[in-house]
Amino acid sequence: MPTPFHVFLEVDGGGWHPAAWRRSRTTPDQVFSPARLKEFAVTAQAQGLTGLTFEDSTEPNPRNPVGHLDAVQRAAFLAGTTDAIGLLPVAATTYSEPFHVAAQIASLDHSSRGRAGWIATTSPAAAARSVNLPVEADPAGELADVVRTVRALWDSWEDDAVIRDVATGRYVDRDRLHYVDVETDSFSVKGPLTVPRSPQGQSVVAVHARDLTPGTAADVVFSGDERARRTAGGPLVVLDVEVALDTEAHPAADRLTALDADATAPDRGRIRWSGSGEGFARYLSDLAGSVDGVRVHAAVLDEDLRTLLRTTFPALRVARLLQPPTAGATLRSTLGLARPANQFATA
């Protein structure tokens, strides 16, 4: 049995390249089309990918006038029409309400029957202006606090808090509901959450390596460093790779040159790989021994995804590196993570 290797696909907008939206077979408004999103999800699930990720930004990109839809909303939209693939949206931590974030991700976990992940990210300082809060001096510290708070809220209902006891008339057992009473420098939360504990107990928490502090309780770390290795007992390591592939009509190098002529892509601290679909499959196979998975960012989703589907993913399947999640499985079980015990549960 080969070591489990997990492939995630990022599906925000037209692709990682800022000029992608110009090249997509979709017009700018179709980038948002719900049908397109569903097509990605159904295809990725059929290919045996572990998860879709939904990056997000509340900052408009002047080079990309089409904008972004909220990531949690996009993930939730796909929850009912898929049954195996993980759904991991970004929800920022810096100026958010931890209570809202906890409720949203718990709800996604319920409606996807246990396939929710949460990519906890910091927000740029400019975001403070949209909510009239002071600029956060230590966004990574804030992130760790918010993750801790959200995790506490997810545990604020014990699994069996809903008792439906007809004899006494009690719907819940209040002794299995808990105030979290979190107090940090910038917020306090009383609890309990208004959403009962979700199928996974704790949805999978993913954090970018750049946002990570020793105090952050993450299940998965997205890293752009090829030398990244998992430490014993530490979070799973998933490598972020921006890829541009040969298409039937154009070699990857030509495609990149043309894209760059329209706009230069910023360095987002991810690995960048270009070449043939088969070559990409070999690259991923080599990685499989050292990291737990990879997150694929396509330069132009509509173009590169076809190569991924035709060559890369089939080659990974043949090499038995893609292990399709089974219908009904939770994201945690697909990732080999245990369902955590409740931090408030009484023996």
Binding site: F32, P34, L37, K38, S57, T58, E59, P60, P62, P65, V66, G67, H68, L69, D70, V72, Q73, R74, A76, F77, L78, A79, G80, T81, S96, F99, H100, A103, Q104, A106, S107, L108, H110, S111, S112, R113, A127, R129, S130, V131, N132, L133, A161, V162, R164, T168, G169, R170, Y171, V172, D173, R174, F187, S188, V189, K190, P192, T194, V195, P196
Partner: protein
Amino acid sequence: MTDDTTELRYPDAVVRFGVFFQGVNHSTIWSDPRSGSQLHHSTFTQLAQTAERGLFDAFFLGEGLRLREQRGKIHDLDVVGRPDALTELATLAGLTSKIGLVATQNTTYNDPADLARRLASLDVLSGGRAAWNVVTTDNAWTGANFRRGGYLDHADRYERAERFVNLAKRVWDSWNGDGFDAVASDDRFFDVEFTPTVPRSAQQHPVLFQAGDSPAGRDFATRTADVIFSRHGTDHADALAFADDIRRRTVAAGRPEGDVLILPGTQIVVADTEAEVEEKARWVLEQQVTPATALSLVGQVWGEDLSGYDPDGPLPAHDPVIEDIDGTRGAHRAGANARSLAQQWRAVAEENKFSLRELVLHHSSERGFAGTASQLADELTFWVRSGASNGFNITPYLVPSGLDDIVDQLVPALQDRGAYPIEYVGDTLREHLGLRAPLTRR
């Protein structure tokens, strides 16, 4: 009823239906074997798809951001625990194609940039079927779960709500065809600046509902909203007076008389014969007001734990230990003077020889409509054609099966009378409701 029709002010009006999934309440009968999960995704899917089969305009989700308590203890008798409204509705957007999706969201513990964006995202994902039911939760107690705490004075809540909604409308209107215009505001509630990122939806922007009943709430609604979700859905004279008041305020706000639709919340019990109707309505009532619930409701008025009392015995002989009934903890008659209410209740109980529970059953019996499909069709048609409402937001007393007989029996009876749509006229909620362009674009 034929003679009355000549007096009906709106002889061609049709009945509109919405379904209100309350989530937290004591009127959903959870103890029955037919009652499904209040949270499982199949419950929501079945309800929404049944409502869509019945050509309902909208599926509503309520909101409440702190678990209710009584005397410092989490309330344990009612259904409690529900999904985040916008997240659940986004899932339903992927599983339905016509029905409107209404999220109740308060203006006190949200930020306009964030909430407007999430609502607009739902609107785009659903192809123009989103709506926002604007509420104004205003207690310091809920604030304990949020960064800014319980900071809003009661007197300010509608001012903040109106500024919030107006800012959200600017967010939704910020697409200039080529990119997004920045939105800035520097009033005493919102000193903010940002550039939106979500494009316009098929219905331009989410439809606005409002729920709140005070004069300030009614003025807010008639200035800013498309639809009012009211609590005047049981007594015709009361509903007509409310609707007349709304029409007057709508005109005063400079809008045409019928510009704001009124959808009262209500409950509907339907059965085949009059005898069955009576039996079913009684059953529903007794399931909703269990002995424990009766003691709890009376306990809210007396301000003490009465769970040791006999529900089949008399009301407490002594006066309440509190002055006013505390609303923030989820009591039903918030703000009322406890002593005078207790006196009234005792008088009614004595006169009718009611036990404690019988008294509560008596007060709870006016929840909505009960009848055969044909009786109900006549009655509801009369409501909308006389101008008492534009339809009803139905709270099913059982989930997920609670809409089945309404869709299978009542809807066809209404259609036979020409008083209910026979198909969805368009794809967006704005089209279903027959609304004109958004207020900002007229």
